[in-house]
């Protein structure tokens, strides 16, 4: 009889399993943080400089901006829009790669980590990155004088929730993508960019023709922008904020459930 071996491996609880994935992402991130920080943190800043300061210098404070200067009007929405874009970007090709090219998802699910925990870890890692880039944006915007009240701190949280709500369905889409992912390019062009432009990021929803306004209503970014402005500028109807928050949380929950189902379908076959 050969010697008896006892494996040192154990099953870790779900939250810990998700956190271990964050650790794994961190091992990679700390080698590549510069380039990724650029896209998620610096890009919105360029927008802030161009739109808030540059373009904003041509806009008078008025009814459309709720009486606020354009910089104050646009700064919270730019944070949320940036979080939305990086949330969707990070959930498209990078997630597809986990299944298809890099195959790290396949490696991870050969361990005690389950596909659900893998997805949870991906969302947790994204939440951390969105928080990080939101804080950096917020601090630089502070030096621009973009914030009017302390409540603006909460805009970071709004960005994270909105980013995650947009990311979860894209992760589901990635899990159901078997080709080279051309659909993501279509999604960026025909969903993400229009969403950024017509979600009351740069101008109020009242400027959008009433027949097309439903497109804005279903845009998660619009709901995020409304909450972000409410906390950054004050004077919002709590009921409306609750409604916008409910929309985002429902989208997040639905996206996570769908993504979980599709992660299992892809990884347990």
């Amino acid at each position: 009889m050969p010697p008896v071996r006892r494996s040192t491996g154990t099953v870790v609880p779900t939250w810990r399993a998700m956190w271990l994935r964050v650790e794994g992402h961190w091992a990679w991130y700390r080698r590549y943080w510069r380039s990724s920080l650029y896209s998620s943190g610096i890009e919105p800043l360029l927008f802030l400089a161009a739109m808030g300061l540059g373009f904003g210098s041509q806009v008078e404070a008025g009814a459309a901006t709720g009486g606020h200067e354009y910089l104050h009007y646009v700064a919270p929405a730019l944070l949320v829009a940036g979080a939305t874009m990086s949330g969707m970007g990070e959930s498209s090709f990078p997630v597809l790669s986990g299944f298809k090219w890099q195959k790290d998802y396949i490696a991870v699910t050969a361990t005690p980590i389950t596909p659900g925990q893998l997805l949870g870890g991906q969302l947790m890692w994204l939440a951390i990155r969105l928080t990080l880039s939101g804080v950096i944006y917020g601090l630089v915007a502070l030096t621009f004088g973009a914030w009017l009240r302390p409540g603006a701190v909460l805009v970071v949280g709004v960005g994270v929730i909105t980013g995650l709500a947009c990311a979860a369905p894209v992760m589901a889409l990635a899990a159901a993508t078997y080709d080279e992912g051309r659909r993501f390019v279509v999604m960026f062009r025909f969903v993400m960019v229009p969403m950024m432009l017509f979600s009351a990021t740069f101008f109020p929803i009242e400027q959008i023709p009433i027949e097309l306004r439903w497109l804005t209503w279903i845009s998660p970014l619009w709901h995020g922008n409304e909450i972000a402005r409410a906390v950054a500028l004050g004077g919002a109807d709590p009921l409306a904020v609750a409604g916008h928050g409910g929309f985002l949380l429902a989208l997040l929950a639905g996206g996570v459930l769908l993504a979980k189902k599709l992660f299992y379908r892809r990884l347990v076959v």
Partner: protein
């Protein structure tokens, strides 16, 4: 010590036990009802051509693919309900390397070890030990991407050892490696066997199967067509020696009838004729005595390839 039937899951005698195991994809049965038992400490092989159902079986054992029908126990647990607990104690070497190529060699081992609940101190020490084992210590802090195929394969095997697995699943461990890299890997696998690691290996390379496996099953079309040790299988399904005859293109068919009766069995391959005989030398003399003059001849011992040819009528590697 373990008894038959009711195994202690902490110290199972049967590492894997499958009965009438089936895996269907859509309407197609990739695994069509196989019985398989792997005992503690042995090296067990699934031998068969591509598409025989080897990898599907491995994935069911690795608890990443639910069975469609039949019974399966791994470490005396049910993969369906105990997947994570089983995976915690096994190691998997997939057919295609799925290392994190943007991380270093060391990071690959450390990050992976953490998924098995190992402490930071433990994975740090384990990574050093495994890099030694895989002869990658001098590349410890290099990124994985530019490493050679053999090095990546060794790292994948080292990674599968990070939790000191009791059962190691190796899906075509040396496919695509040069002979030197293969021999290095075989040596490492033998070393692991000495340490008591049960191994299940799939391969379509009969030489590898002969090198590595105590016992193996030959699979074809989702079925097990034979089971035994390599030497048993050869004894049972082939002769001691094989005489290979090569003829100029186009002449083989004509010559066949002149020599076919000299051996108990023959096989016709596109490029040569195989005569199965216990005494190859005597058979060759008889061939020459009939005035048959092949371009070249070879007398060799029977291999698993011959067993496979006999059982399926097809060559193992196309």
């Amino acid at each position: 010590m373990a008894r038959d039937g009711e195994d202690d899951e902490r110290e199972p005698h049967l590492m894997v036990s499958g009965k009438a195991l089936v895996k269907r994809f859509g309407g197609v049965a990739a695994v069509a009802g196989i019985d398989v038992e792997v005992r503690r400490g042995e090296s067990f092989g699934f031998l068969g051509p591509n598409g025989a159902g080897k990898s599907s079986t491995m994935r069911m054992i690795a608890c990443v693919s639910p069975r469609s029908d039949g019974e399966l126990r791994v470490l005396s647990m049910d993969p369906e309900t105990d997947g994570p607990r089983i995976r915690a104690r096994i190691g998997v070497v997939p057919q295609l390397d799925n290392l994190d190529v943007e991380l270093t060699v060391r990071q690959n081992l450390q990050v992976y070890g953490r998924y098995f609940g190992l402490s930071r101190a433990r994975v740090r020490a384990k990574a050093v030990e495994l890099m030694e084992f895989a002869e990658l210590s001098d590349r410890a802090d290099d990124q994985v991407e530019p490493l050679s195929g053999g090095m990546k394969r060794r790292l994948t095997i080292a990674r599968s050892m990070v939790n000191d697995p009791e059962l190691l699943l190796l899906d075509e461990p040396t496919t695509g490696l040069d002979p030197q890299a293969r021999h290095l890997l075989w040596g490492r696998l033998y070393q692991l066997k000495q340490q008591g690691v049960t191994q299940i290996i799939t391969t379509h390379d009969m030489h590898e199967a002969e090198q590595l496996c105590d016992r193996l099953v030959v699979m074809d079309g989702g079925q097990i067509v034979a089971e035994g040790s390599p030497s048993e299988l050869i004894r049972r399904f082939s002769t001691r020696e094989v005489l290979e005859l090569r003829f100029p293109p186009g002449e083989q068919d004509g010559q066949l009838s002149r020599v076919a009766d000299l051996a108990g069995r023959h096989e016709v391959l596109p490029d040569r004729l195989l005569l199965y005989a216990d005494d190859g030398e005597a058979t060759l003399e008889a061939v020459h005595a009939r005035g048959v003059r092949p371009v070249s001849t070879l007398i060799r011992r029977s291999t698993l390839e011959d067993v496979f040819l006999r059982l399926t009528g097809r060559s193992l590697v196309d």
